[in-house]
């Protein structure tokens, strides 16, 4: 069965390591914070200028001067620091963030990602996404494997305007965990109960399938 939003977040959380500085995009990536393994600590970077983002505030704690990159009111964790936007992106562009998790519309076999614009329909802007994909070595893209109409989002070539070129190596969809290398998708894990055939059917770009594909464990 396809992973739920919570399961996607849970599976991403398995990639965390103790002491990681992590930037989580809006949507599913944000949920990853709820599944940090016991005894492990990670520090969340919010690109509007906060390292050490805490939980949402109580009514009494709400502070208009303290928001995250999704413009939600937040709090600060112990040991947090605040800085301006140039410093925040120096951190991101300079490769200091250990893991970046963000959503996408499409990803292709060359590691290209499209996530910010659907011409004629949605032109809200890239925000920090282009900096995040260009700056990070370790990125996980989370998205549904295919559209509601059954059109694959894992393509031979992205059809939408790119957010970044050749920068994605890991994609977690509701059906599979996939790595990108040598111009091909590589199937690493499948969602529990999802068949390899179904994944192949819904993957447009060339997909390398090993003899045995383990199910994800939660």
């Amino acid at each position: 069965m396809a992973l739920s939003r919570e399961q996607l977040a849970q599976r991403v959380a398995q990639e965390l390591q103790d002491g990681y500085y992590v930037n989580l995009g809006i949507g599913i990536p944000t949920l990853v914070a709820n599944y940090v393994p016991e005894g492990m600590e990670v520090m969340l970077q919010s690109e509007n200028g906060l390292l050490g983002m805490g939980a949402f505030p109580t009514e009494n704690e709400i502070d208009a001067d303290l928001i995250n990159a999704g413009k939600q009111t937040v709090t600060m964790a112990t040991g947090a620091s605040v800085f301006d936007s140039a410093e925040s992106f120096a951190m991101i562009r300079g490769g200091h963030v250990d893991l970046t998790v963000l959503g996408a519309f499409e990803v292709d076999v060359n590691g290209n990602i499209a996530s910010y614009m659907i011409p004629g329909k949605l032109i809200k802007g890239m925000g920090g996404a282009m900096d995040l994909v260009a700056g990070a070595d370790n990125i996980i893209v989370t998205m549904t494997h295919a559209s509601k109409k059954g059109e694959s989002k894992l393509l031979a070539n992205c059809s939408l305007p790119l957010t970044g070129k050749g920068c994605i190596k890991k994609v977690l969809t509701d059906l599979a965990f996939i790595e990108i290398k040598d111009g091909k998708f590589h199937l690493i894990e499948r969602a529990p109960g999802v068949s390899v055939e179904e994944i192949i059917k819904l993957t447009d770009g060339e997909l390398v399938v090993p003899a045995s594909v383990p199910e994800m464990k939660f």
């Binding site: 200028g49 109580t58 120096a90 282009m130 900096d131 700056g135």
Partner: protein, 240 residues
């Protein structure tokens, strides 16, 4: 103290000299840390044809969004513009020119403008629509694009505290683009919640030195919250 006293007594005086078709850099991220009263003064003045550089363009009835109905903005340079119906209408109809710029590149362009760096290379945007018309160059096996600096005729900035000399301290994530805009305006105008006497701020803890500030005014702020998000723990605690 006259020589370094940057305090002006009215918003009219704060934005004296702002004219049609000028470029204005604005601090703020979403509605957080925006110079809300300076924006209101621009509306009052009805200055037109502005090029505005700001990460966002406010919402329909607050922040830079209030300059849209009277078509005061000709062009906006921003990274994210998705919270505003009138904005979308003007953009789609071509009445408003929009230059989408990655957030980190936008911040760095302002910093470069203030720091006398005319252009820098970044990997951000390489191979994307942002790279169109820009020089591409490879350093050590990686591809980058050349991004020019941004400066403005005016910078409008919101800080938390300032001394009369214009030394600024920002509060929490209301800092964002404000210190960068402050460096890159020919005339930098700052509004703050509190003005203190010189010597009251710790010299080690000043975020923006007064050398960047031309005019300073104390205001009162609505500080509207865009996404009021409360923790579940809090809600259940609240229900106790």
């Amino acid at each position: 103290m006259a020589g370094f006293d940057k305090v002006v007594s009215s918003y009219e005086e704060a934005l004296a000299g702002l004219e049609d078709n000028m470029t204005v850099l604005s601090g703020g991220f979403g509605l957080c840390g925006i110079p809300e009263n300076l924006i209101a003064e621009i509306k009052r003045k009805q200055t037109k044809g502005l090029t505005v550089v700001s990460n966002n363009c406010g919402v329909d009835d607050f922040g830079l969004g209030i300059l849209l109905p009277d078509r005061q903005i000709k062009k906006i340079v921003a990274s994210y513009v998705g919270e505003n119906a009138e904005f979308e209408r003007q953009m789609m109809s071509g009445e408003l020119e929009v230059e989408l710029t990655p957030q980190g590149t936008l911040a760095e362009k302002m910093r470069a403008g203030g720091a006398g760096i005319p252009a820098f290379y970044t990997a951000t945007g390489y191979g994307t629509p942002v790279a169109e018309g820009k020089e591409e160059r490879n350093f050590d096996g990686r591809d980058y694009i050349l991004e020019p600096a941004i400066t403005g005729d005016f910078a409008i900035v919101k800080a938390w505290k300032a001394d009369r000399y214009g030394n600024l301290v920002f509060r929490k994530t209301a800092r964002n683009f404000n210190p960068l805009a402050a460096t890159a305006g020919k005339i930098t105008v700052v509004e703050v919640e509190e003005i203190v006497e010189p010597g009251s701020l710790d010299p080690d803890q000043i975020h923006t030195p007064g050398i960047y500030v031309n005019r300073l005014i104390q205001g009162t702020f609505e500080k509207r919250i865009e996404q009021r998000t409360i923790s579940e723990a809090a809600t259940s605690e609240g229900a106790k």
